[in-house]
């Protein structure tokens, strides 16, 4: 159901003019008086003991102000030079050992970049190589070198994190989910299918690479950073400097893309300790090549067993998930929970068993990435859904519809499903793509050397629960409203969304609302700008804050007008007496005449929930994000190339705040997914990244987009809940395309990406038996 409101909705971005004139300011644009430029020396070894570092030649280069190493930070004595959002396992600069190629080893601050670069080249490091592991099998083998010995160093972390780590192996963390009785479930099944799916590490590639300007002055550490989670950066800098959080200030200008890659501290600790050493402001801005060795999406392997009855009902699913989390934990210990429970899928399965592991290896750390584990999980279960449908001779659409979660079913984490729209989304997807399944034996539509076919998928994604957002609202004496928030604008349009929500709530034009940039010294706490939660969570906090302002405004106006509050209403920036359709007092007049200066409101919105550490049962998500997709592909049988003819993206939004932004986020997910489906993959050789630049690593261009895109951003305003849509329509892309490619070619690819080479190899393997039998018949090809 798509609702067309009679009232025109604001659609666009409030700072559009700044964005098309190049004036919107990013962190890279910040300059401070006396500011120095930083460059890093990075490890060339995947695993080694640092035998010796000589920085003397760098220090004596004219123009160099500071050179620091990990040993310097330890020896200084007044710092705690480790960080990490769950485990404090990552040194600000390598201490004693390096654990991946690209790990920062030393940092230089100099008067300009040329000098800093030259100084870095003058630092000598001697490494004693250690045995290294690059994939989960090697990392978990007997006798494997252990990356982090001893129990993990814990610190303040997110409420939903479950830690189950001993520190005596390369298992960084282990998440367990036990729903129902898995043995009984498989016993009930008439068929059990077991398949393995893999997806590679990929990079976020925000066009603005990580940047940070840091200043340490009068006992105050200030960083301007492209950081999605300013309050975690603040907490961790306070830990590093051993100072109260109030002495750390994190300011976040708009981001040139984030996609999860700018969650949690990344380069801020280095910039801050370097600024402290230099006693001058420092700017650190990574090159594209450095960005590639900063953080990645987790490479993952899932072994999935699914038990199905003869009637098509899924009764059991067991998933063993191995996430390659790289050399440092980052958010891996938490992400394996979402990726792990995510394998339960949008299906009503009574018996589910998941073991999900984050595994340390000597490659670039993996962390949050748009989709947050669900892309990997959905690639597995939505591919397997089609594989099972074929083995049982079922229509993949009907097989999905039969098993989708409906209201009242229990989701994999044990809570009842509410506000479910999977069936509706999938039905629309099938309709819009022209789903025409006539059996698995029917050959695909063929045009010369090209074959065409369609594929479907449907996914479920949670949002972090429990979670907390707080906000402030200030109505000024000219009737304008300031919204104080720490939500980070990164292109998703959160500032515009919050302005719209605040304006609606107080009957103001959107143009009368300003939304702050995060500044931890001024703006109230927010847990994170990620997990597709800001419109929902911060939107609710802003609503509560504005309601408080509204209450005060009505009380003051009632006093001034000598009427009861109940006799007043707010209309377009003015207070009216009910029944008298003209402004009695403008908001500004109320504030000026009541001499309140301004009206202040605070809002706190917190959700409850969390999972049992032993069973993974509880409340996994305050509400469930839902999406479905349909793809029509054309595959060239001579080259293996996959072209996208038509694509339908369906996503449940609950209520749309900003229509064009809702479309942009969904179209953006398609672009993101097309890259991951067809070509994105970080290729490592002995821990050395082989394609860490935009010449060798492709991201989707305008020509890679599907020729036709159709969107269904589904609204059910009566449910009265906003669902974030920043990520939900991404995970369906890869399996929808993979399933279509299979139906077109008979080539089932279970390891992303679906490259022309893999398709061709699959086609040849399929042809080979025919060719052999043809040769046996003596007929020439």
């Amino acid at each position: 159901m798509t609702v067309v409101e009679s009232r025109p909705r604001f659609s666009g971005m409030i700072d559009a003019r700044e964005r098309v004139t190049g004036r919107v300011g990013y962190t890279i644009d910040i300059e401070l008086p006396g500011m120095l430029h930083a460059k890093l020396l990075r490890s060339i070894s995947p695993h080694a003991r640092i035998a010796r570092i000589d920085t003397s030649r760098a220090r004596s280069l004219p123009g160099v102000v500071a050179v620091i190493t990990g040993a310097d930070l330890v020896n200084q004595g007044d710092l705690f030079p480790w960080y990490g959002p769950v485990f404090r396992d990552q040194p600000v600069l390598a201490v004693d050992k390096v654990r991946f190629v690209g790990e920062p080893v030393a940092a230089v601050a100099a008067v300009d970049l040329d000098t800093a670069r030259e100084a870095v080249s003058l630092i000598d490091v001697e490494y004693d190589e250690l045995p290294a592991v690059f994939d989960v099998d090697a990392a978990l083998a007997d006798g494997a070198p252990i990356l982090h010995e001893g129990p993990p160093r814990l610190g303040q972390t997110f409420a939903d994190v479950i830690v189950n780590a001993s520190g005596d192996s390369n298992i960084c963390n282990h998440f367990k989910l036990r729903k129902g009785n898995i043995e009984q479930g498989f016993a009930e099944a008439d068929h059990v299918f077991e398949d393995v799916f893999t997806s590679p590490a990929v990079q976020h590639v925000p066009l603005e690479t990580h940047a940070c300007v840091a200043q340490v002055k009068a006992g105050q550490v200030t960083v301007w950073a492209g950081a999605q989670i300013p309050f975690i950066v603040r907490t961790q800098l306070a830990e590093i400097f051993k100072i109260p959080a109030t002495r750390v200030r994190v300011v976040v200008p708009t981001l040139g893309g984030g996609y999860g890659g700018k969650c949690y501290p990344k380069i801020e600790p280095i910039a801050a300790v370097l600024a402290a050493a230099a006693r001058r402001p420092v700017k650190l801005h990574l090159t594209r090549e450095e960005e590639f060795v900063t953080i990645t999406k987790h490479a993952m392997r899932i072994r999935m067993r699914t038990g199905v009855r003869d009637d098509g009902k899924i009764v059991a699913r067991q998933s063993i998930c191995h996430f390659n989390t790289g050399a440092y934990a980052d958010i891996g210990p938490r992400l394996i929970k979402n990726g792990g429970y995510g394998t339960g899928g949008p299906h009503a399965i009574p018996n589910v068993w998941v073991d999900s592991y984050a595994v340390y290896t000597n490659i670039v750390p993996a962390g949050a990435f748009r989709g947050y584990g669900i892309s990997q999980a959905a690639w597995a279960y939505e591919t397997q859904m089609d594989m099972i449908a074929e083995r049982l001779g079922l229509d993949p659409y009907a097989f999905r519809q039969q098993n989708l979660l409906r209201d009242g079913d229990t989701v994999m984490t044990g809570e009842p499903m509410e506000d479910s729209h999977f069936g509706e989304l999938l039905e629309t997807a099938a309709d819009k793509i022209g789903w025409d399944f006539n059996g698995w034996d029917v050959p695909p539509e063929r045009h010369g050397n090209k074959v065409r076919a369609k594929g479907l998928s449907c996914i479920i994604k949670g949002t972090v629960t429990p979670s907390t957002s707080t906000a402030g609202a200030r109505l000024n004496d000219d009737g304008s409203l300031d919204v104080l928030t720490s939500s980070v604008e990164m292109g998703q349009g959160v500032k515009t969304a919050l302005a719209i929500l605040a304006a609606e709530r107080l009957s103001l034009p959107v143009g009368m609302v300003s939304v702050s940039e995060p500044d931890t010294s001024v703006t109230p706490y927010d847990q994170q700008t990620s997990s597709s939660r800001s419109s929902f969570s911060m939107g609710n906090a802003v609503g509560i804050a504005v309601d408080e302002v509204r209450r005060q405004l009505l009380e003051q106006a009632a006093d001034l007008l000598e009427v009861a509050v109940d006799d007043l209403e707010l209309v377009d920036g003015a207070v009216q007496v009910v029944g008298i359709p003209k402004p009695a007092l403008t908001y500004g007049e109320v504030i000026r005449r009541s001499r309140t200066g301004n009206l202040l409101g605070n809002g706190t919105f917190a959700t409850k929930g969390g999972l049992d550490p032993d069973t993974g049962q509880g409340i996994g998500s305050v509400h469930w994000h839902q999406a479905a997709a349909a793809a029509e592909v054309e595959v060239d049988l001579e080259t293996g190339r996959v072209d996208l003819l038509n694509y339908h993206a369906g996503v449940y939004a609950g209520r749309i705040i900003n229509p064009v932004q809702a479309e942009l986020q969904t179209e953006g997910n398609v672009a993101f997914g097309v890259g991951q489906a067809l070509f994105e993959e970080m290729i490592f050789d002995h821990g050395q990244l082989q394609n860490g630049n935009l010449g060798d690593y492709m991201i989707a261009s305008i020509k890679d987009m599907p020729k036709q895109i159709d969107l269904n951003v589904l609204e059910h305003p009566e449910a009265n809940e906003i669902h974030g849509i920043g990520e939900t329509s991404l995970p369906p892309v890869m399996p929808a395309i993979g399933n279509a490619v299979y139906r077109a070619t008979g080539v089932r690819i279970t390891d992303l990406p679906i490259t022309p080479e893999k398709v061709l190899r699959g086609l040849r393997e399929r042809e080979a038996p025919e060719a052999r039998s043809a040769a046996a018949d003596g007929s020439a090809r």
Binding site: A16, G22, L207, L255, G257, R288, G668, A671, L694, M705
Partner: protein, 188 residues
């Protein structure tokens, strides 16, 4: 011509070798957005660095540093070039245009900018100046470009937020705006 403009041997800036000062810098005169700027740069500094660091024109941004993403696109004598690949010393005697040069003297937006606002053809907008300038060049090079020609022309500009659907809409809209503007001018 090369992808970067005239071949080095044809570039008048190369005709007279200049001695560098003690800091390794040479004097370069750049013509940007109609104004002349004299800057002292090291010979390895790219036009991108000089635009941002010396001229403080921050709308031009680095995305990849190797000419693959288009975020640093500027116009050189009307042709789109990657300013991360063009040495500043070779950019003399060219008419350079950055995003800051698109607005009219009265602050009015160019038709391409207007179309991008109208369609919200951006998300984080880091890539937007590059797209705007490439589109300016497209509208001159191929005034009646078909959607497929637009895609071919803009394939070297990357938008990681994936705003491509709206970008295509905006470019086709800008094409209409420019054409109707021309028609209007001709009919007067």
């Amino acid at each position: 011509m090369t992808a970067l403009g005239p071949a080095l041997s044809e570039n008048p800036a190369m005709a007279t070798p200049r001695a560098a000062d003690d800091d390794g810098r040479v004097s370069v005169t750049l013509r940007v957005n109609g104004a002349e700027h004299r800057v002292r740069v090291r010979p390895h500094h790219t036009l991108l660095e000089v635009l941002r660091d010396d001229l403080k024109l921050i709308g031009t941004r680095e995305g990849c540093g190797i000419g693959m993403c288009g975020a640093c696109t500027v116009l050189s004598d009307g042709a789109p070039v990657s300013s991360c690949l063009l040495l500043a010393v070779l950019a003399e005697n060219r008419e350079l245009t950055t995003v800051e040069g698109l607005e009219g003297p009265d602050g009015g937006l160019d038709a391409v900018q207007e179309a991008f606002v109208e369609h919200t053809a951006f998300q984080c907008s880091y890539c937007t100046p590059g797209f705007l300038l490439a589109t300016k060049a497209l509208l001159t090079d191929i005034p009646d470009a078909s959607p497929e020609e637009v895609k071919d022309y803009l394939a070297g500009n990357l938008c990681r937020c994936g705003s491509y659907v709206k970008i295509l809409d905006a470019v086709l809209d800008a094409q209409q705006r420019v054409q109707s503007g021309r028609t209007g001018a001709e009919s007067q």
